[in-house]
């Protein structure tokens, strides 16, 4: 059994108005050092397969097909083994 965490964010080339708004908020709070905020989604789930490479394949497939839309989003993921 594996546990995966997928993070989906808007692609770098796309303006992220929500991130901009949060950044402006932080700047007005005095955190001038914070910049380049990108908002995103976090998805966690278990994958019940035998090997790491099988799990990776499943994660990549579902991240491309459903969890993200490649036209506007990028995704990264981590994969850990999990005891049953």
């Amino acid at each position: 059994m594996f546990h995966s965490k997928v993070v989906v964010t808007l692609r770098k080339s796309i303006l992220d108005p929500q991130g901009k708004a949060v950044e402006q908020g932080l700047h007005s709070m005095g955190y001038q050092s914070v910049e380049n905020i990108r908002m995103g989604k976090h998805v966690e789930f278990d994958v019940d397969v035998a090997t790491q490479s099988e799990a990776e394949q499943v994660v990549k497939e579902i991240s491309t097909k459903l969890l993200s839309n490649p036209v506007m989003e990028d995704f990264t993921f981590t994969l850990d083994t999990k005891k049953r």
Binding site: L10, I14, L15, P17, Q18, A21, K41, L66, L67, N69, V71, M72
Partner: protein, 236 residues
């Protein structure tokens, strides 16, 4: 002359399905029926309407989950066989997620949900969905969305422009297309596009809300009239 059969797909969270059904059935006098998203077939309909709303609560991304609902597999088959499909608002978002139209609808640049009447310029009056309009005609049709900011890569945008696939652009009352008339940040003021084959249209504004003369505005009726006119033309 037989009536055209409009099939309006109902997803959990659709909320313009009955308006579309009313516009096609009561206002236009055609045969209109609702199709539940769990059906595996759309039946013998002539035209499919994917209505506005918040299918599956807009969870994950607008239209992302609706795209995988059972009925959509048949809608994709129907569209690929040349059947006429119109996606309005959330229906447009579903069409892009399903790959029937290119691009995506991002969050409005203002981050706000916008519900208001605005103007559209008919950029291509030679489609099956706009043939009763004049080229360059200005229509007044309302929008109601939080994610209507059309985006695609530069190559796809050029292809859309070159093939006259941009059917509607946001404009001012006199028909001028500029940034002030752009409510949501859409590339090139895009409000509606059609596929290359000309049988699948997606638009963010709501023609079904301005079809009934009792509601004063009737510009949306022209979209339904065009569909009916051209469908008859194809079958005769």
């Amino acid at each position: 002359m037989r009536k055209i059969k409009f099939g309006v797909v109902v997803f959990p969270g659709s909320n313009c399905d009955h308006d579309a059904h009313y516009a096609a059935g009561e206002v236009m006098g055609q045969d209109a029926r609702l199709i539940w998203h769990k059906e595996s077939s759309i039946g013998d309909v002539d035209v499919v309407i994917l209505p506005g709303g918040f299918s599956y609560g807009d969870y994950l991304r607008c239209g992302a989950i609706a795209r995988f609902s059972p009925v959509m597999q048949d809608v994709v088959r129907f569209a690929n066989n040349g059947g006429m499909v119109i996606g309005i608002c959330n229906g447009f978002q579903v069409l892009t997620e399903a790959g029937l139209l290119p691009g995506v609808l991002l969050q409005n640049r203002s981050l706000q949900f916008i519900c208001k009447y605005l103007h559209l310029r008919v950029e291509n009056a030679e489609t099956n969905f706009t043939s009763t309009c004049k080229q360059g005609e200005v229509l007044e049709i309302p929008i109601a969305h939080g994610e209507g900011n059309y985006f695609t890569d530069p190559d796809t945008l050029k292809r859309l422009e070159d093939h006259h696939q941009i059917v509607f652009r946001y404009c001012d009352a006199s028909g001028i297309v500029n940034d002030e008339a752009n409510p949501n940040g859409s590339l090139n003021n895009i409000a509606g596009i059609i596929n290359e084959q000309g049988n699948v249209l997606g638009m963010m504004p709501h023609p079904e809300r301005v079809a009934d003369p009792a509601l004063r505005h009737t510009d949306g009726k022209k979209i339904f009239e065009s569909i009916i006119q051209n469908f008859i033309h194809v079958t005769v």
